[in-house]
């Protein structure tokens, strides 16, 4: 589609942008006013001048920086691991022939359908058997490879890597891992970038398991933010200043990763 998009496209996108950004702006608004104003529900349209004082209170109430660091570490490690292992497995399912491929893939998908709420108890038992409870390991290990990621990469690579390219590489005597590295991995980059970002966000927003698995002195950011709600009443301005502050590193990350993501997607377009 080479034609430049018109007014309508930008209009629709802008509408969508406003919808996406409004709640974020709203939490910033509430976080920037005093608690009396925040408690009244719908705030004035313009930010007040109390964001930093509220944010400072939030930082003083919870182990903010430590939690932020923990979340960054856990999310980054998990995201990198998921991308690597899932691309590998997705590629195998998409492009390599082996006995049991179909049933195994169905099995992978089926594991996603198992409700996870109950898994918490046995998982905790397991983690304490291994001696991992209370450490960041316990929130990283379970998500090192996800069925979601395997399935996603498989579906993407099925069409994104032409069979003849794989075949040609093999004719040339390339080993399997070289084919993966030089043919599949570059083609997988757009999807890998997306998977990276999603896994990162998924782990970042996860609440229940980190709450259970980690000691409160060493929490992830969501668990720490939840502590802001303790006390006799919900101090909206405090809670929302804290949550807004915690999204700033993510926005920075988005800007950094965003360019990569887009160029990655564009490269995908060159292939075919």
């Amino acid at each position: 589609m080479t034609r430049r998009p018109g007014f309508l496209v930008y209009g629709l996108l802008t509408a969508f942008l406003i919808g996406s950004a409004a709640p974020l702006y709203w939490s910033f608004l509430l976080g920037s006013h005093t608690k009396e104003i925040a408690a009244q529900g719908v705030p004035p349209l313009l930010p007040g001048g109390h964001f930093w004082s509220n944010a400072e209170r939030a930082i003083a109430t919870i182990p903010f920086w430590k939690a932020l660091g923990n979340s960054l570490l856990v999310s980054t490690v998990t995201a990198c691991s998921v991308v690597f292992f899932c691309t590998l497995a997705g590629y195998a399912f998409a492009k390599l022939r082996f006995r049991g491929r179909g049933p195994l893939l169905v099995f992978v998908i089926a594991t996603m359908a198992v409700p996870t709420q109950l898994g918490v108890v046995p998982l905790f038992i397991l983690m304490s058997e291994f001696g991992w409870t209370g450490t960041l390991t316990s929130v990283i290990i379970p998500w090192l490879v996800t069925a979601f990621g395997v399935f996603f990469m498989r579906q993407y690579l099925v069409d994104a890597v032409p069979d003849e390219l794989v075949e040609a590489a093999r004719m040339d005597g390339c080993s399997q891992i070289r084919i993966f590295w030089h043919v599949a991995a570059p083609a997988a980059r757009p999807a890998a970038a997306i998977l990276w970002l999603f896994t990162f966000m998924q782990v970042w927003t996860d609440f229940f398991w980190p709450l259970i698995a980690l000691p409160n002195s060493n929490p992830t950011i969501q668990v720490a933010l939840n502590q802001l709600q303790s006390g006799f009443f919900k101090d909206y301005s405090l809670v929302l200043a804290g949550t807004t502050l915690a999204t700033i590193p993510l926005l920075v990350l988005f800007v950094l990763a965003g360019r990569q993501l887009v160029s990655g997607i564009m490269q995908g377009a060159v292939k075919g």
């Binding site: 930008y10 709640p23 179909g102 898994g119 993407y156 069409d159 993501l261 075919g272």
Partner: protein, 339 residues
Amino acid sequence: MSNSTASRGGGTQTVPPTREGSPTASGPAGRAPRPEWRQRLTRLDVRLSPYLYISPFFLLFLVVGMFPLAYTAWVSVHEWSLIGGKGEFVGLDNFREVLGNPYFTKQLVNTISIFLLSSVPQIVIAVVLAALLDNQLRGRTFWRMSILLPFVVSPVAIAIIFGSLYGDRYGLINELLGHVGIDPIGWHTERFASHVAVATMVNWRWTGYNALILLAAMQAVPRELYESAAIDGAGRVRQFASITLPMIRPTMIFVVITSTIGGLQIFAEPRLFDETNARNGGSDRQFGTITMLIYDFGWQLRDLGRASATAWLLFVVICVFGIANFLLIRRVGALGGER
């Protein structure tokens, strides 16, 4: 579950005609002869590599996934108190009890209703959005990243924001409706309205994400296809229907199946939306879902037996929907593919 057809339907066998038929023979036939050991090594490489590549998933599953599954299966056929532990073996009694519980039926209906209200618009909008983004936009990065904004908002903030948006009495939406003369809507009390409210939260959070996934697939569609279609005089809508949609089918299948699974397991949003003490999804469980019932059995009533039985029943429901979805999309896809 029927087996290997599932994986093939994804695309390898039914690839669009741009691809040449995949070579059937594998192995280095017709090449110059190589030393025996190398050949054997290559064969070993070809045979073992796939298993090696998929092994991390299965290893991890063995270590951390298998035990919880076996545990819940074991628990579901016992009387089992969350704190007190295992009681006597009761066979399928827990399953029978859950199936006979009026809340199970009600919350199953709620789950499906919320699932339909969220997944269908979500996927439709995501496809449109992805198509819009699959353009030569000015400030591409900006637009693409912007659709992920809902994703960075913390669940704590989401609960507060949507709480004040959908407040039955002092909420923003009802206030706005009041200005145009519409009676306030009981977002937390009327069953359908509450489903709409919860679905909005879900859609707000996940549409952009699905759009980005679809966008990646759209970008991988070779541009020559569009050019030649344009030469043939196909309009943009027609190009989209006859080239884009069929070409992104594997990703489409992925999106549909994962949102089915995710939609039927919906928990976070209705729970965040709930303001009653019991947190079962409204005073009369107007928007209580199956996963919330699992939580209720397990953590409120401390009856792990019934909770596990419910979890397995939900698993069956998800599989039924998943397979139905898959079959459906395969048919639709096949029709779309005829050019």
